[in-house]
């Protein structure tokens, strides 16, 4: 990445395909406030930022700011430019995302920013909980950043994003990774344990998808596992091998953004797409094939 903001030289990161996509909490504590660097908090809980955040960090809410209010889709180029301008983010800025729940939502925001081609986007390893566990400073003061002239960039849905027809055409041709819990994968339930029902009429998984719950990529403290551990999980056990194309999905695309980040940036798979329609779409569509149980299942004959 061509940017004035240096990469974090933490030894663990050097083993990843693109370790410059990660920064540590120490690095953030040291570099926060530098011109050209914006820290963005993105959480599931809409109030968490207000209770205290990394000093100077701005909030981007996935639900109210990144989604179109009418169509089930992300904001368009104009909407994104307006949002970036209001947040005081320039096209050249380095953005470091962090958030709750082991960075699910931070990874989700990072992925959406990537659809708009914002180049230098990074994640803070371990997210909000690590920062808090280390008793680092939190502030309730909302930063006032000057509005910017962010260009209107058309969203590129063809590279990092998969839609249902492409997923259907992929069966048997390219690997699918289902990152939900084993109970959701088998079809015993259609939503996360302890989470409310989110409206899928059928339970199960897309035929041929390998089950790799997202949390396998994370350590207890929410940081990413080492490059070697990740290779063992995805490349070997899940059988991705040297696949040149992978599609990941979950329930609404948030947990699979976490896995997308791992495959794309940490393991260096070159063509990884997130199917954000995920189970809330597939599990409701008339006539698409579904497999129940813990086996991946066969490609249905047509």
């Amino acid at each position: 990445m061509s940017t004035a903001i240096p990469a974090d030289t933490t030894a663990k990161f050097a083993d990843y395909a693109d370790g410059s996509r990660l920064v540590s909490t120490e690095w953030v504590a040291e570099h926060a406030g530098e011109p050209g660097l914006v820290i963005v908090e993105s959480d599931e809980d809409v109030l968490l930022y207000e209770t205290g955040h990394i000093p100077g960090a701005v909030k981007v809410d996935w639900h109210t700011e990144l989604n179109d209010t009418v169509t089930r889709d992300y904001v368009d180029g104009e909407g994104f430019a307006a949002l970036m301008s209001a947040k005081g983010i320039s096209r050249e800025d380095t953005i470091v995302f962090y958030g709750d729940k082991s960075n699910w939502w931070a990874a989700y925001a990072l992925w959406v920013f990537s659809l708009f081609g914002h180049e230098d986007v990074r994640l803070m390893d371990g997210g909000r909980s690590k920062w808090q566990a280390e008793e680092r400073e939190l502030s309730t003061e909302k930063p006032r950043r000057e509005p910017t002239e962010y260009p209107v960039i058309d969203r590129d849905d063809s590279t990092l994003r998969a839609f249902l027809p492409e997923v259907r055409d992929s069966l048997g041709k390219r690997p699918l990774i289902d990152v939900r819990s084993p109970e959701e994968y088998s079809g015993e339930r259609t939503h996360m344990p302890a989470y409310p029902e989110e409206g899928a009429l059928r339970g199960g998984h897309i035929p041929t998808a390998a089950s790799v719950p997202w949390a396998k990529a994370a350590n207890e403290d929410g940081t990413f596992k080492s490059a070697e551990e990740l290779k063992a999980i995805y490349t070997d056990e899940a059988g991705l091998g040297t696949a040149d194309e992978v599609i990941a999905y979950c329930r609404i695309g948030e947990r699979s953004s976490h896995t997308w980040f791992v495959l794309q940036h940490l393991l260096g798979y070159t063509n990884v797409r997130n199917y954000d329609g995920s189970w809330t779409e597939w599990g409701n569509v008339v006539g698409v094939p579904i497999v129940t149980g813990s086996e991946a299942g066969e490609v249905p004959s047509r």
């Binding site: 809980d45 809409v46 109030l47 968490l48 639900h63 909980s129 989470y195 409310p196």
Partner: protein, 161 residues
């Protein structure tokens, strides 16, 4: 149900709850989260008789974050006139859920069983927050309300197990 921009109906709510609904409606949408945060902060700690005995609380699985609640009724033999006391346990890392609990506490704690049982199920939709928080979270608040009402009914003997 009225849209966010309209004034929500409060005529069928007790004054305490009507005040909360009106507060939200009259607060600029950019400040509503701050108001919710204040209600989250005002939620009292569990008294020791419950914090030492978490098994006495009922979980609300509709909420995305772990929340537990228990409803107490003073002098349940007074039936509809009996006074209802609410206790909640929600972690600080789930401020939105705490805020919803705070709304119910502010609006319903100390009310009579009759008032508690009269609260309409669409209360969460009247809080002018449908654009700020996801529908799932509002459903979590409905889950809390329905449990409070069921526990109240049980305590005053309207539901016998």
């Amino acid at each position: 149900m009225t849209a966010d921009t309209d004034t929500p109906v409060t005529s069928d709510l007790p004054q305490s709850l009507a005040d909360v609904v009106t507060d939200f409606a009259e607060t600029d949408s950019s400040d509503r989260l701050q108001l919710l945060l204040e209600l989250a902060s005002d939620l009292p700690e569990l008294p020791p008789r419950y914090s030492d005995h978490p098994e006495l609380l009922e979980q609300v699985p509709e909420c995305q974050s772990p929340i537990f609640l228990v409803t107490e009724v003073e002098d349940p033999e007074q039936g509809d006139e009996a006074i209802v006391r609410l206790h909640f346990s929600a972690p600080p890392e789930a401020p939105t859920t705490r805020g919803f609990a705070g709304i119910l506490y502010e609006g319903l704690n100390g009310q009579t069983a009759e008032v508690v049982l009269s609260i309409p199920a669409d209360l969460p939709l009247r809080l002018s927050m449908t654009e700020l928080v996801s529908p799932l979270r509002l459903r979590g608040m409905s889950g809390m309300l329905s449990r409070i009402q069921r526990q109240t009914s049980e305590r005053i003997g309207k539901i016998t197990e």
